[in-house]
Amino acid sequence: MIDLFKFEELLTDDEKMVRDSVRSFVQARVMPLIRDCWREGRFPKELIGEMAALGLLGSTIHGYGCAGLGQVAYGLAMQELEHADSGVRSFVSVQNGLVMHPIHAFGTDEQKNHWLPQLAQGKAIGCFGLTEADFGSNPGGMRTTARSDGTDYVLNGAKMWITNGTIADVAVVFAKCDDRIRGFLVEQGTPGFTTREIQGKLSLRASVTAELVLEDCRIPLRNALPGAVGLRSALECLNRARYSIAWGAIGAASACFEEALEYAKNRVQFARPIAGYQLVQEKLVEMWNEINKAQLMTLRLGQLLERGLEDPTPISVAKRNNVKMALQAARTAREILGANGVVDDYVSMRHACNLEAVYTYEGTHDIHTLIVGQALTGIAAFS
């Protein structure tokens, strides 16, 4: 993509190398599989080992065999993954931001030493259970409960729309315990803990989405995450994931733009490439324009995160802006491709379908609007 703003100059050598290495991996390993995976509704589990070997899992954590990437480098890695598919990026976002991060930030040394190395090596997979069928944008209303009983906690409730749910070895589950929301580690195979894959998705088909059911599920007291107390701790994890989504969306949008540009330059109608028509140029310019704006803003966000961001509102700004931008770009690219665009030999419609879910997950577009609205006006529209 033409780099008129010299974005490249704003990146360090480490950041460029991380991006390029993940890009090579995506081209060589993910792209040959992804169309069929999406078609078959299958997450490419066979890539987990290689993603771990590349250092994608827990990549911002220092120690425990993790890469210790800065936030910008991490963001660029997520951009490259979602250039292939939002589902593959979602797998990594969840493992990193929603599983390894809470264990690292809120867990005991014993929990960290037990889980982080195997999660980094891809020998264990994690998922994050916050959302419930009736409590999406309003997670504080959750019905899942935990009560202490002797040496155990007893969990009851159900979690919905859980990425990686059926393939996870460990679930970070939030439940109300004495009227406070707390985080717990629930291991696969614990009696009373079952998972069910959600079928029939028209989006994120190369990703596992599941329901988690907890029926008198007993876990030892030591499986509580001591630092994960209050909804704030869950939202802190979500902000990590939202940041990775902001970068990922740029990758998806870039893939669509590149496809549409190439197609428009080669597709001849009325004896001229359609790229030569004003209406098509307007579409291409708009896509390119928005991708470049998003990159510059999100890079700045990454730099702010690296020095410590007290107010997470800019993360909402970026998630909101970039996913909307990407969804628009994907739809526009599909339109430029005409009938060809509805066939999965081209990537744009797959991205468009994926981004429909990304638009409303990890904080819907509207909720992010209200978070920014609250920051501007001082008035919370959702409470």
Binding site: M17, V22, G55, S59
Partner: protein, 275 residues
């Protein structure tokens, strides 16, 4: 085994359309180009790594892989990426692209080989920018070492290498005694192309070059990068190859539509004069 891999950055072949010639036609405009390692040189690094391991423990090196490039400071990212991929040490020889030709690079490499004393110099068969395909051959001649070019298969065999070269109609198998100079072709990165003496016979690599693991990228800064002056390696830096003038290729002319085979044959015979 100690392997020296000279490599070159080239204008990203996927962005070849951005390569421009300066107004006076004297040189290729290099500002604003996106750079990539020459693909054949990446294959040479991959080959060097495969020759110094058993395939199952990519972090453990049996021997040493040293990468070297000639170029300005911006080239260091190319070397760092190779250090992240697994090379042990890097050397950058300070030079500008227009101060170099194959003859000078080969002579400077000869001097470097005398200092470094590698068992093997591995190069890409050619750089995809100038396509001169000569540095490896000149270097072998200057060193008086055995040489095998365009290798598609390498197997370590005692103090020698068995090298398979794909040619029209088959494969030529050579045995070169070490120390030697070998240049590699693209099929050297196939799953079963390179076997060190440690590699099990049934071991298969992933197709292609390995990816730099992210933790290794973060640690690549800790690996040594030496900077040498071109004058330290070559006293005579006059260029033997002169490029008097560059011209971009002419744009492709529009095609012609013919209404039937007879017209096609007529045009091929009388206009194109190829029949």
């Amino acid at each position: 085994m100690k392997v020296l891999v000279p490599l070159k950055r080239v204008a990203d072949p996927d962005n070849a359309n951005k390569v421009k010639v300066t107004a006076d036609g004297k040189k290729v405009e290099t500002t604003g180009l996106e750079w990539k390692p020459n693909p054949f040189d990446e294959y040479a690094v991959e080959t060097a790594l495969r020759l110094t391991e058993d395939g199952t423990k990519p972090k453990t090196r049996a021997g040493e892989v040293v990468v070297v490039t000639f170029g300005p400071k911006e080239c260091e990212i190319t070397l760092r990426a190779m250090l992240a991929t697994g090379a042990d040490r890097a050397i950058r020889v300070e030079a500008e692209d227009d101060q170099l030709d194959g003859w000078l690079v080969a002579r400077a490499l000869k001097k470097l080989v005398e200092q470094e004393k590698p068992d093997l110099v591995l190069l890409g068969k050619q750089a995809v920018d100038g396509d001169t395909n000569q540095v490896g051959q000149i270097l072998a001649e200057l060193l008086g070492w055995p040489m095998a070019t365009s290798a598609a298969m390498i197997k370590e065999d005692g103090e020698a290498l068995l090298v398979g070269r794909e040619v029209d109609g088959g494969v030529i198998n050579l045995k070169v005694r070490l120390p030697a100079v070998v240049t590699v072709d693209l099929r050297i990165v196939a799953p079963a192309s390179v076997y060190s003496k440690l590699t099990k016979a049934d071991f298969k690599y992933n197709e292609g070059v390995r990816f730099a693991p992210l933790p290794a990228i973060m640690q690549a800064k800790k690996k040594p990068m030496a900077v040498l002056k071109l004058a330290d390696l070559a006293t005579d830096t006059a260029l033997r190859i002169q490029y008097p003038r560059f011209e971009p290729p002419k744009g492709r002319a529009a095609g012609k539509k013919v209404k039937d085979v007879a017209e096609l044959v007529d045009k091929l015979k009388n206009e194109a004069k190829v029949l």
